[in-house]
Amino acid sequence: MGFFKKKDKDKPPHIEIDIQKEIKKAEKEEKALWIKCSSCHELIYRKEVERNLDVCPKCQYHFPYSVQNRINLIFDKGTFVELYRGIEPVDFLKFKDTKSYKVRLQETRESLNRNDAVVCGQGKIKGIDALAAIFDFEFMGGSLGSVVGEKITRLLEEGAGKGIPVIVFCASGGARMQEGILSLMQMSKVSGAIYKLKSQRIPYITVLTDPTLGGVSASIAMLGDIIIGEPKAMIGFAGPRVIKETIKEELPAGFQRSEYLVEHGMIDMIVPRKEIKQKIHQLLSLITT
């Protein structure tokens, strides 16, 4: 009794450290070595994450995965052939916010060495032919504009014409505002092609990665015959901030995450990255043979 005096309690036992600040500093200084998990906020060794297919070893959060890595992960070695590479974006509205769309495109294209936010191609998954589109979130948030819409539409038409299943790996914040109404119209264009594919009885599988929102979610993503989510991926129509501001309420825990969507019957399953090739192959073989 009286072992700890009130005085002692008030006194901090150690120097206070602002951990967020330290992490930020560490991130900045040793970007190459350490990264912070955006889900569990743990500081993790970058090499370890990379060896683990860009999955956090602590909480299994799936980091955005590069297009090239995705191709290597899904397709049999050397089978993937890229399609429609030559389709390039145009700033037809002469759209300018804080920067002009033209300049934004130019800078992004140079730094990423890619024409727009999706790569399409054909390859083999454990021997089964498949057409695939893979979004690149790095390219203007994977936004859906005329180029993305045209490439995916061609891919779907090719699938319908040749009878080859189509798989889309989504990662997108939604429609590309800089293309105004024509970005919205890509939702209908692509959905029309999906209707065509489906009426030919060709399977259409979508894999939703973090994040899949807005116009992409309300067309390409949620029309999958089978929809697979990556663990903890954010999937929804409106973004959480917009919802919060509209309804002025706190959002439930885990809201709009893959696990939440499975629970509400909106997606079929959650498949970790390391099992995805096996799972897609199994599905394709069940459907096609």
């Binding site: 389709i87 180029v147 819409g149 109404i181 024509l182 209908s188 309300a218 949620m222 309804i247």
Partner: protein
């Protein structure tokens, strides 16, 4: 209740006075008749000044004008025998979308659209025309009936967008919009979509896949509202006017981009200044397009709709 936008405010005292005179005085001759004709001249002069050269931002505001006719106003003036149908048969009836069967110039059609409210109570009840998933499901249900019974479909678009809420997400807002868009490509009957006010993003497109897309002169149709776009790209919601210029959401812009087949002229100043004239214009245009489409067989309609949307998008291609 007559409502004036900021840039229309100069008209308010004069028009109130006109109303007053008409209500309480003999206006066929004498002092009041003189005052009235003077006031009316004044009104038409101010009208020319404020409506003569509308900016995109002003058009965006006009498209949401509280006194604009809404879906059910068009239905009651352009159609006869309207019978409203309710519910999605899954969850509930969403009053943000209204629809049913009616006759247009004697032809039995399905008609549906977003319904905003006129007054505070109706606006709240109809959620300002922002539908939940059940609203789009109801729309699909009605279109499916129309397809089975081989009735043309006329849709009216007037929504700020699909409702962003917890329940909406849980019940699959993205999936229902996507399914509605996809479903409209399967229809074997003529589909005419008319943007009558605010065409807000995916929530508008969900009933917008028509063989013809018509648009009233002061309506807007956009991937995102000017305010929403400003909040994201300028990080300042007050930059709406700049975003409205950049997004090019007006009827003439969309006609230029081949998204809209015909712009329906509105009375000078906008649909809210003269409902009857608006109804007459739209009625004529609708009638023309419906007649054209009625002569095309089901497969042809489906193919025409597909080709129409297939061509949308601007890009260049290196070979």
């Amino acid at each position: 209740m007559r409502y004036y936008l900021d840039f229309e405010k100069r008209l308010e005292p004069i028009e109130r006075r006109i109303e007053e005179i008409k209500k309480f005085h003999n206006v066929t001759e004498g002092h009041y008749a003189k005052e009235l004709s003077g006031l009316e001249k004044k009104v038409s002069k101010i009208e020319k000044e404020i409506y003569g050269d509308l900016s995109n931002w002003q058009r965006s505001q006009l498209s949401r004008h509280l006194n604009r006719p809404h879906t059910l106003d068009y239905v009651s003036h352009l159609f006869t025998d309207f019978t409203e149908l309710h519910g999605d048969r899954r969850f509930k009836d969403d009053p943000a979308i209204a629809g049913g069967f009616a006759r247009f110039e004697g032809i039995s059609v399905a008609v549906l659209g977003h319904q905003k409210g006129k007054d505070v109570r109706e606006m709240a009840a109809r959620n300002f025309g922002m539908a939940n998933p059940e609203g789009y499901r109801k729309a699909v249900r009605l279109m499916d009936l129309a397809d089975r019974w081989q009735k043309p479909i006329i849709t009216f678009i007037d929504t700020p967008g699909a409702f962003p809420g917890i329940g909406a997400e849980e019940r699959g807002q993205a999936e229902t919009i996507a399914s509605a868009i996809c479903f409209m490509f399967s229809l074997s009957v003529p589909v005419i979509a008319v943007v009558i006010g605010e065409g807000g993003s995916g929530g508008a497109l969900a009933v917008g896949v028509g063989n013809r897309v018509l648009m009233l002169e002061n309506a807007t149709y956009s991937v995102i509202s000017p305010e929403g776009c400003a909040a994201i790209l300028w990080r300042d919601g007050a930059k709406g006017p700049l975003a409205a210029d950049a997004l090019k959401p007006t009827a003439p812009d969309l006609y230029e981009l081949n998204v809209v087949d015909e712009v329906v002229p509105e009375p000078f100043g906008g649909a809210h200044r003269n409902w009857q004239e608006t109804f007459d214009h739209l009625s004529q245009v609708l009638s023309k397009h419906l007649k054209e489409l009625l002569s095309i067989p089901g497969d042809g309609l489906r193919a025409q709709r597909y080709d129409k949307f297939r061509r949308m998008g601007i890009f260049q291609e290196q070979r």
